[in-house]
């Protein structure tokens, strides 16, 4: 569904990604792992268009996204939940959800989508008039995912969905991702914690300082002794 080829991203000289290629096949859950500054967010940003890549291509469902401006990408079925949620702070939960269905096609299906979302996240129905910035981290995460779902996307990208959440909430979010996938959603998410990511995905990639250093199915990676050493910076040549 998504193919990223030789992607390079830099912010005015600050090299965030160089020569990264990965793919996400339809129906998969893929996780992208790495420490901070490894470039995970930059990759997602390049796919959703928030950042223009310095080199490389992004192909979504067979179509190159190079000349597609950001605001058109949601219409293609590609949704992006940002790091730290980023809800519209001074708007209510409901308004945030309504904005999720701003696109004309989504607007038509709005009532239905709203019902669906409230079924998936029952706590939100009670909180729908609450201002977004007053919600807790976990609640915000739910709203952020719910908002992305309002446009019934086919491909969902989540940037560090487990960040700052308690273990119970982490489990809830993970479960939600798995459920969505069972219902047909393709997912790409980034995370720092390896173990949690691998048990919530089919395949994984590991980024370090803007380059891919390891990839494979989650099962393989979980078993991989080398993984730990690589991740902790050992066993690769010191600079």
């Amino acid at each position: 569904m998504l193919a990223v080829d030789n992607l390079a991203v830099d912010y005015g000289g600050y090299v965030a990604l160089s020569g990264v290629s990965l793919e996400v096949r339809t129906g998969e859950i893929v996780c992208l792992m790495g420490a901070n500054g490894s470039g995970k967010s930059s990759l997602l940003n390049a796919v959703s268009g928030l950042v223009r890549p310095a080199a490389g291509t992004v192909v979504f469902e067979g179509r190159s996204l190079t000349d597609v401006p950001t605001y058109r990408r949601l219409g293609l079925g590609l949704a992006h939940v940002l790091e730290r949620r980023r809800l519209f702070p001074y708007m209510t939960v409901l308004e945030n959800l309504l904005l999720g269905s701003y696109l004309p096609a989504a607007r038509a299906r709005r009532g239905e989508a709203l019902e669906q979302v409230f079924r998936t996240f029952p706590e939100l129905r009670a909180r729908r008039q609450q201002l977004a910035h007053t919600l807790s981290g976990g609640e915000q995460q739910m709203v952020a995912i719910a908002r992305a779902l309002m446009s019934t996307p086919r491909f969902l990208m989540l940037d560090e969905p487990f960040l700052g959440l308690s273990p119970r909430l982490v489990a809830e979010v993970a479960e939600t991702i798995l459920r969505l996938n069972v219902d047909g959603m393709t997912v790409l998410f980034t995370e720092q914690a390896i173990h949690q990511s691998l048990i919530t995905s089919h395949r994984g990639y590991i980024l370090e300082s803007g380059r891919l250093v390891l990839s494979g199915t989650s099962a393989e990676l979980l078993r991989n002794e080398m993984l730990q050493r690589v991740y902790m910076g050992l066993d690769l040549e010191a600079p």
């Binding site: 500054g37 960040l163 914690a193 173990h195 730990q228 902790m232 600079p239």
Partner: protein, 591 residues
């Protein structure tokens, strides 16, 4: 200006242009008048430029200061018989006081707000003057204005018959203001202002005091603007509030430097040379009923410049005339005569240079740092690692004083740090680099480091030498003359290091130096960090790149959710199961 000789020549040359033109044209009073206007506006724009261009505070109310000068000298002349030459100085001083008094508290207002206040100030002054018929018993006739007595040729009283006298006076004033501008630009103040304009907070972190620098610029600017007001009064012989203190006048004082090149010495001159003749031509062609045509052109040009050539004319001219010479700084490695790192008397018994004791800080409900304690011995390199949100940058902010702690202490060189501001701590010997590098974009690499060196140098020349040495040490000697915006990220990181080093710290806090650096530049950067370490400096390093930090550090401190969970030699820490757990998440199953 980097080329002193060329600059001086330019100023003299520029000043001679009106002279030469006049000689060619002859003594026709009309053209003389035009030249006088060109120089007059160039003068006013140059005076404005001191605060607007150099300091980046765009006052759109400078006409108010002009009015103060005009009224002060005129009142003194008409009612006290004081010669306008003296009255001019009195007006200048008064304006300097007023300008400083209004400017100083307003400087903290950013951008547009400052401009709005200055507009309000000028409007208040104008309306107030329009309403006042007498001031301290002296008639000023409010909106009707008042006439200055015309008494023939009285040079001692700043009155000339014909335009020639005024021409020379204006020429002299113009040369003076351009020279003042040039002197300021290459003085300590000039460097401070340039740094402040680019990044006020970064400048403060290097020990510069922004408020003071801006105040000085404002005082100078007000003084000279008011003198221009006196000239105006003497030339026209008739002053009214509506004309001297109008918004239009203020705007023209802004448009010309913007067009000519904000923040450059000669920019105001170019701006006036272009715009004033246009104004005169339109007035000549469509005189009378069609007033304001020149303002249409001014407005359109202003828009054009902002959209297409924000730097203005001057840099474009310089690009045509001067070739950019990269002033090579002698690439001396460590100088023999003075060690780069001042050897401070080391405390006996290896007492810790930095001691963090029970430090705590939370943000609302979220914990930033909790009960954190660790030490750094002199000459040590300690690395701080941990997942995102673990509190690493918070620790730096607490040590440098950018954040206040909720509990616990920071001890530096045996002294407990209390309420000292970042620039005070910098003077004590703590320097830091930022995760997102903040060079002064408009300055060259050398000038960037000079700003850091100036507070501790006895002269600009000495600061330049110091800066050169640090640049060379950081491996940027060959790039000293390059504008910071033209440096690559790796080079900018080195620049940031050189700048921090130039503040002669004892403790250097490095925040994610390797972040965003491309693979090829990485080894060099790490070598530089090792070089700094070899100089005997004490380092505290935040790093995500575990390979780098394990190679560099003597000890690692691991933070997780604001608390220290492990501390020790790199190899031991990195293989410790608890630490691995944090990074990898649950010990990886074997087999």
């Amino acid at each position: 200006m980097r080329h002193a000789g060329l600059a001086l020549l330019s100023i003299v040359g520029a000043a001679l242009v009106p002279f030469a033109t006049r000689a060619l044209i002859g003594d026709d009073d009309y053209w003389l008048q035009v030249l006088i206007w060109v120089m007059f506006f160039a003068y006013l724009s140059a005076a404005w430029n001191l605060i607007g261009g150099f300091a980046g505070q765009y006052s759109i109310g400078h006409a108010g200061l002009l009015g103060i000068g005009a009224y002060t000298s005129s009142l003194l002349y008409v009612h006290a018989g004081v010669s306008p030459w003296l009255g001019m100085l009195a007006g200048g001083c008064l304006a300097a006081v007023v300008g400083g008094a209004i400017g100083y508290p307003c400087f903290r207002l950013r951008g547009a707000f400052f401009s709005l206040v200055t507009i309000a100030f000028a409007e208040m002054l104008r309306v107030g003057t329009e309403l006042t018929d007498s001031l301290f018993g002296l008639p000023i006739n409010g909106v009707r204005g008042f006439l200055l007595p015309v008494a023939g040729s009285r040079p001692a009283d700043f009155q000339f018959v014909g335009k020639r006298g005024y021409y020379y006076v204006m020429l002299g004033l113009l040369v003076i203001i351009l020279t003042v501008g040039w002197l300021v630009k290459r003085s300590r103040l000039g460097y401070y202002l340039a740094a402040i304009r680019d990044d006020e907070d970064a400048a403060a972190a290097l020990g510069v005091r922004p408020a003071r620098a801006k105040l000085l610029a404002m005082v100078l600017s007000s003084f000279f603007t008011a003198i221009g007001g006196t000239f105006y009064a003497q030339l026209i012989g008739f002053i009214t509030p509506t004309r001297t203190m109008s918004l239009d006048f203020s705007v023209q004082m802004v448009v010309m430097p913007v067009l000519g090149g904000i923040g450059t010495v000669l920019g105001p001159l170019w701006g006036a040379l272009v715009l004033v003749p246009i104004g005169e031509v339109t007035r000549a062609l469509w005189s009378g009923s069609l007033q304001g045509v020149h303002l249409i052109i001014y407005g359109a040009l202003l828009m054009l410049v902002i959209l297409k050539w924000p730097q203005g004319i001057d840099p474009w001219l310089r690009g045509l005339i001067a070739r950019r010479r990269e002033t090579p700084v002698a690439a001396q490695p460590i100088l023999g005569d003075a060690p780069l790192v001042t050897a401070h008397a080391s405390p006996d018994g290896g007492e810790a240079l930095l001691r963090v004791d029970g430090l705590s800080r939370s943000f609302g409900g979220a914990v930033g740092v909790r009960e954190l304690s660790f030490e750094v011995a002199p000459g040590e390199v300690v690395g701080i690692i941990g997942a995102n949100g673990a509190g690493k940058t918070t620790v730096f902010n607490l040590i440098t004083g950018a954040l206040a702690a909720d509990g616990g202490d920071v001890w530096f060189a045996g002294r407990r740090l209390g309420r000292e501001s970042p620039d005070a701590r910098n003077r004590l010997g703590i320097a830091r680099t930022f995760q997102i590098v903040r060079p002064f974009i408009g300055l060259t690499a050398l000038e960037n480091v000079m700003v850091a060196a100036l507070p501790r140098a006895a002269s600009v020349a000495e600061a330049r030498r110091e800066a050169g040495r640090w640049l060379a040490f950081a491996g940027l000697g060959h790039r000293a003359g390059v504008i910071a915006s033209g440096l690559s990220t790796g080079e900018r990181k080195r620049l940031e290091l050189a700048r921090a080093l130039a503040t002669r710290p004892r403790l250097l806090l490095l925040d994610e130096v390797t972040g965003g650096v491309d693979q090829r530049s990485l080894p060099g950067l790490v070598r530089l960090m090792q070089g700094i370490r070899a100089e005997g400096l004490t380092l505290l390093v935040i790093e995500h790149n575990l390979r780098v930090v394990t190679a560099l550090a003597d000890r690692l401190v691991v933070l997780h959710l604001g608390e220290k969970i492990r501390e020790g030699p790199p190899q031991a820490v990195v293989t410790d199961p608890a630490v691995v757990d944090v990074y990898v998440g649950a010990t990886v199953a074997r087999g």
